[in-house]
């Protein structure tokens, strides 16, 4: 009996080895890893990104693939959590992926980018944009979204020049992305001659922000800028209006989602401004793409769907240029990208993997919808 079970278990282990070898050693497909949060607070964002990536892959596979090989996606859930993200990254490395795409929360992308850097696998980050990511100077990590300093500058220009604001309050949610952007905005405002009257963090999992907002109210700011995500952002706007705090309310790209307006209530959200990457709904040329997405997934694209779609196309483009699925060759091809057309305009990378040109625009809520501000 014992001997039997021993043989059986050895066979089982061998068969696993054989199976995994089959999975990655198959020469007829290119394996691309996708890392994004599909559980936890940001699960919806991850799903929106995954859908768009799947869409780009389905399109190219429908045309016969790239370099005569089909692309297969391997999905890993980083749960927007640094530890889960490290596990997810290691899982992708062990699956021998040729390249990785995704990354929503900067706090999760930071450790993952380290894993991919030491494994020599290129990663195209399609949402996270903390300045801490390029600070590591990893040669194989590319950011398709402009970084925080570009966004901080856009926000500052708007608040100081367009709104004629002097006293500005900044709120963040204590995550890497949010704190980084808040710090850069604070510095940019002070440089531009404005005054930061309040700078605070709140707990995004809470639902009552009245205590912080009463504090904001006592400082009578001309504008309040929130650098966190939309769930807490919506509640902040609602309670901001309930308390009757002075000045306008602005949010950063993580809060740009229709749900923000729904949570805040249309009346409360009216006039809220936002700094945002150029989304397909603001770009005339991308209307058709949004429609295709809606037909395929029965829901509208999320804020980072378009960037994720472009990111996957960028990887496909690099695979074509490199004529290989070797990670190093792909890294080289992405770094050499010249004027690759995306929804946001032509894309090129600096040596540190960030975009050469900022892609942030100003939008605002009008009649319950985000619209471009002229």
């Amino acid at each position: 009996m014992k001997a039997h079970s021993k043989i059986a278990s050895i066979l089982l282990v061998l068969s696993f080895l054989f199976l995994t070898a089959c999975g990655s050693g198959n020469g007829n497909e290119i394996v691309i890893g996708v890392i994004s949060p599909t559980t936890g607070q940001s699960a919806k964002m991850g799903q929106d990104m995954n859908n768009a990536i799947q869409m780009a892959v389905d399109e190219i596979n429908g045309k016969g693939g790239v370099n005569n090989k089909k692309i297969r996606l391997v999905f890993a859930d980083d749960a927007c959590d640094p530890q889960a993200s490290t596990t997810a990254a290691n899982k992708l490395v062990s699956e021998n992926v040729s390249a990785v795409i995704g990354g929503y929360c900067s706090s999760a992308v930071l450790p993952a980018s380290g894993v991919f850097n030491s494994a020599g696998i290129p990663m195209v980050v399609t949402a996270a944009n903390s300045e801490k990511i390029p600070e590591n100077n990893y040669k194989n990590i590319f950011l398709l979204n402009s970084t925080a300093s570009a966004q901080a500058q856009t926000a500052t220009n708007y608040m100081i020049s367009n709104l004629k604001g002097k006293k500005i309050a900044i709120l963040n949610d204590n995550t890497a992305y949010s704190v980084d952007l808040a710090e850069r905005t604070r510095d940019a405002i002070q440089k531009a001659g404005g005054q930061v009257v309040l700078y605070e963090s709140v707990d995004p999992n809470a639902s009552d922000f009245n205590s912080v907002l009463t504090k904001v109210k006592s400082k009578t700011p001309d504008a309040t800028y929130w650098t966190g995500y939309y769930a807490a952002g919506g509640l902040l706007i609602k309670q901001f209006k309930q308390q009757g705090v002075s000045g306008s309310f602005g949010v950063a790209d993580g809060s740009v989602d229709q749900t923000l307006i729904k949570i805040a209530g249309e009346n409360n959200a009216e006039g809220v401004f936002a700094t945002m990457s150029p989304l397909p709904q603001f770009i005339p040329g991308a209307k058709n793409w949004s429609k295709d997405y809606e037909t395929k997934f029965k829901q509208a694209p999320g804020p980072y769907s378009a960037l994720s779609y472009d990111g996957m196309r960028l990887i496909i483009h690099a695979l074509e240029q490199a004529k290989s699925d070797d990670p190093n060759a792909i890294t080289g091809a992405i770094a050499k990208t010249k004027g690759f057309a995306t929804f946001a305009g032509p894309v090129e990378f600096k040596a540190n993997g960030t975009l050469t040109k900022s892609n942030f625009i100003m939008i605002g809520v009008k009649n319950g919808q985000f619209e471009m501000v002229k």
Partner: protein
């Protein structure tokens, strides 16, 4: 001064929510010495049950709609609480399993509820299909909205009812008796397990009330919303003296005030540090809490 008073109002509203959830924690602990870590998720279930009821209405939802949402939510979540007790906890209680097994089961129940809701309602934030006006009245510079006042008054009503139920009714007497000695109580011919079930029903119902009120007041719900609220309610229950009904409410208010004052005088990022710091202080220095009696068993 006005800002301080405004902050006290803010604290009272938050404290009310903590207190309502802490009530259920305390009642269940009082009777079977179980820290029901799934309690925060019953609160979340309550919010979702209310969401489903309110979604059925088209157009303006009036007080009848809110009343109906509260009643349905209490019944549904109460029955689920009862079911959880029957399926997950009762077999362990009957076997006289170690308390740790119960505790781990509670964590399992918590995850099961969370992800069942995620699968049926989706992972994204849901917006309550009701928007109440921001109107209210001013006392000096302090603004109190009608809905804040409503929440506080409604909670006071619930507290009065609970007091009468526990101290004046025969059912309350049976529950208090089980809390003191369940074996002796069962020897007196009282169906102990039925009353444990009743306690679960009531505790879950109270959580459901808090859930619906949270949904209406804040307007946004999510399958993970019960986690932090559950921890805070646990803290409130410990501060007040776990097992004590009045203590739970008092603990909720104290926690609300400590958190808010921490936010005001130190900074928003310290809010949870204050909340859980006070939990540690109480566990170390005064584990019986403000109004609790001596606790023999610990987890």
């Amino acid at each position: 001064m006005d800002i301080f008073l405004q902050q006290v109002i803010n604290a009272l509203v938050v404290g009310t929510f903590y207190g309502l959830i802490a009530l259920g924690y305390s009642m269940v602990y009082g009777i079977i010495r179980l820290l029901n870590f799934a309690h925060g998720d019953l609160f979340m279930l309550g919010a979702f049950a209310g969401f489903s009821v309110l979604s059925l209405f088209t157009g303006q939802v009036g007080f009848i709609g809110i009343g109906l949402a509260l009643i349905v939510s209490v019944l549904v979540v109460g029955l689920i609480g009862l079911g959880v007790e029957r399926i997950a906890y009762r077999p362990l209680i009957k076997k006289k399993s170690p308390k740790l097994n119960l505790l781990i089961t509670a964590v399992g129940v918590s995850l099961a509820i969370e992800y069942a809701v995620m699968l049926s309602y989706g992972p994204s934030f849901r917006v309550y299909p009701i928007q109440l006006p921001n109107t209210g009245f001013h006392i000096g510079d302090v603004k109190i909205t009608y809905i804040q006042l409503g929440i506080i008054l409604f909670t006071i009503l619930i507290m009065i009812f609970l007091q009468l139920f526990i101290h004046k009714s025969i059912y309350g007497k049976a529950m208090r008796s089980i809390a003191i000695d369940d074996t002796a109580t069962s020897l007196m011919g009282i169906p102990v397990h039925r009353f444990i079930g009743l306690t679960f029903f009531m505790g879950s119902g109270l959580a459901a009330v808090a859930g619906v009120m949270d949904g209406i007041y804040y307007g946004q719900i999510n399958f993970l919303m019960g986690f932090l609220f559950g921890l805070k309610a646990f803290t409130a229950a410990v501060i007040g003296g776990i097992g004590s009904v009045n203590g739970a409410m008092l603990g909720g208010l104290v926690l609300g005030i400590v958190e808010t004052l921490g936010t005001v005088y130190v900074g928003g990022e310290w809010k949870d540090v204050f909340a859980f710091g006070i939990l540690i202080l109480f566990l170390v220095l005064k584990p019986t809490g403000l109004l609790g009696e001596a606790v023999n068993e610990r987890v």
